[in-house]
Symmetry: C2
Subunit: 331 residues, 2 copies
């Protein structure tokens, strides 16, 4: 398989899931101290992951939880963020300007900040009240934080059962999705690597990833034009420009918003002959009970997208690390 | 001026601003009874207006206020919406399926619903606890509701002064913007009415309108392809696909997020020669104090967009009421 290091991937995922004991120590302490609400702050890809953390929690929680874009938090602000708030952030480099400033503002407010900063020596890392440094797995880290808060609030009775299954199966199941998706991903990339424009539709705990896959991968890393749209919004305007040959990809999750994407998937053959449905349900996750699969859709679909990327990169001979403007120019 | 009925527009705006006494009776009563939080529910264009109501309130409020997409509210739901919640909705037809179902759900929860439903005899109208029926002016209605809640919470000291100025000047000032924008709008429409793709950038209290102008006007009513992006997100991926001839329009507001759009406007000449900046600041609003202009950006920019629409419709000989799929097919 092209650009695929199974051993490294498996080890990284196993390390990700193993972060739970560190996360739980932090969350348990904050819960003991008390808190008023939970705020996820991000920008770009981390903004998208924050959206998904909130929709994931909304499935079961009464806790006040919301996301903020770092830049609008720095301008308009949010007076619901106080010294009693728990803020969660994630950053690979630890030096994204807006994130550094946003965490500084949280420090001034006195909110407790849990930071997942991949580089432990970055400025941002030193500014977090609680730091965890481990590469990748952003969405998993966020979900584990949210799940623990909900468990402690008495909102997630099956927490132990769920995480027993996750500890035992998550890493190897996700690796298997990478492998199972590769044939599809190869064909998809062949069909779409030169698209003038590509539409991505998603909902629920995959909406953030739909938005960021379109923007942070196809636009930023492949230089391919895209638009992403929430499945429920598709019928309120956007679909008027879809015609026979318009490339449209619909992500279907297994969470509470599955029906919103299914509605698009069921409708679209009437007006479009160039659509693709990528359904999390089509991928096995052995050892994970059906009632828990909903929370795993983002991981399944992320694996599929990762394989698509490898093939588009190869077909277009466009290395994904190239940036035209990002961190190249002053802005 | 093409398709412009000044007298009718002025009368409609005057009627809109005059709704404040009815709105205040409702809000004052709810405030007396007490409430826990404020939820704006919408879909498509009303979802966008809800986003703007929230960002408008965030400028000064500590009240918990958030928006929900009607369809995700019906699936994932939001346990923060309880019998103590105030829900605000708006609908022209009063029969949008997701909105009818969402308000039904609010009725079951026992939340109080303030509804702006243009047709007083629609199903949706009868389901609201408080009903106001008056055409158009959705954003103004929403802002007046939010402002009154903030005034009663002691968060808007200048409320009386602001609305004195609004009562005296808003309607005629907005009419003047329509007229002052027409020359620009004519040129803009000429330049862009055949764009293969058009990018709209906005932030703050104009982000929702940027999203809906792209989707509910250009895509839905002109059948022109667009993508909209929050100004603060532009630098986190999307800008990599902007080249010399890419059509990009940047809305600049006068609210707290002005600097986010200004940053894009200042940067873009380096990489693009086909951009347009539409700045609310360029339009006079006589009788409105500078410190109040921020809240008026959406009305100024809406007037500019309305004039662009008239000219694109004319140039493309594509009447804006035509729909290819919306309410034409089953979905």
């Amino acid at each position: 398989m092209l650009k695929f290091n199974e051993k490294e991937l498996l080890a990284n995922l196993e390390g990700g899931i193993a972060l739970r004991s560190d996360i739980n120590k932090i969350v348990d302490q904050i819960n003991d101290e008390g808190y008023s609400n939970i705020c996820w702050i991000g920008i770009g890809g981390t903004y998208a992951s924050s959206m998904q953390a909130v929709v994931h929690m909304k499935e079961r929680t009464k806790i006040e939880t919301f996301y903020e874009n770092a830049a609008s938090f720095l301008t308009t602000g949010n007076l619901r963020v106080t010294k009693d708030t728990v803020v969660i952030i994630s950053s690979v480099t630890g030096n994204t300007q807006e994130m550094v400033e946003a965490v500084k503002k949280c420090n001034e407010i006195g909110a407790r900040v849990i930071g997942f900063v991949d580089r432990a020596d970055a400025d941002l890392a030193t500014m977090c009240d609680y730091l965890i440094s481990y590469p990748l797995n952003e969405q998993l880290k966020f979900f584990m934080v949210g799940d623990r808060f909900m468990y402690l609030a008495g909102e997630f009775d099956q927490y132990d059962e769920f995480y027993k299954q996750m500890d035992d199966n998550f890493a190897k199941d996700v690796v298997a999705v990478y492998k199972n998706a590769d044939e599809f991903a190869t064909e998809f990339a062949l069909q779409h690597h030169e698209d003038e424009m590509h539409y991505f539709v998603g909902a629920g705990n995959q909406w953030g990833a739909t938005y960021s896959y379109a923007m942070c991968y196809w636009e930023e890393q492949h230089w391919l034009r895209t638009k992403s749209i929430e499945a429920q919004e598709f019928f309120h305007g956007m679909f008027e420009i879809v015609e026979r040959d318009t490339p449209v990809t619909i992500y279907v999750t297994e969470d509470s918003q599955r029906q919103l994407s299914e509605r698009v998937a069921n409708f679209i053959p009437q007006i479009c002959a160039n659509y693709t449905v990528i359904d999390a349900k089509d991928y096995d996750m052995p050892g994970i009970s059906p009632e828990f699969r909903g929370a795993l859709s983002p991981f399944i679909l992320h694996a599929v997208n990762d394989r698509i990327d490898v093939h588009i990169e190869d077909l277009n001979r466009h290395p994904m690390e190239i940036r035209r403007y990002y961190r190249q120019l002053k802005y």
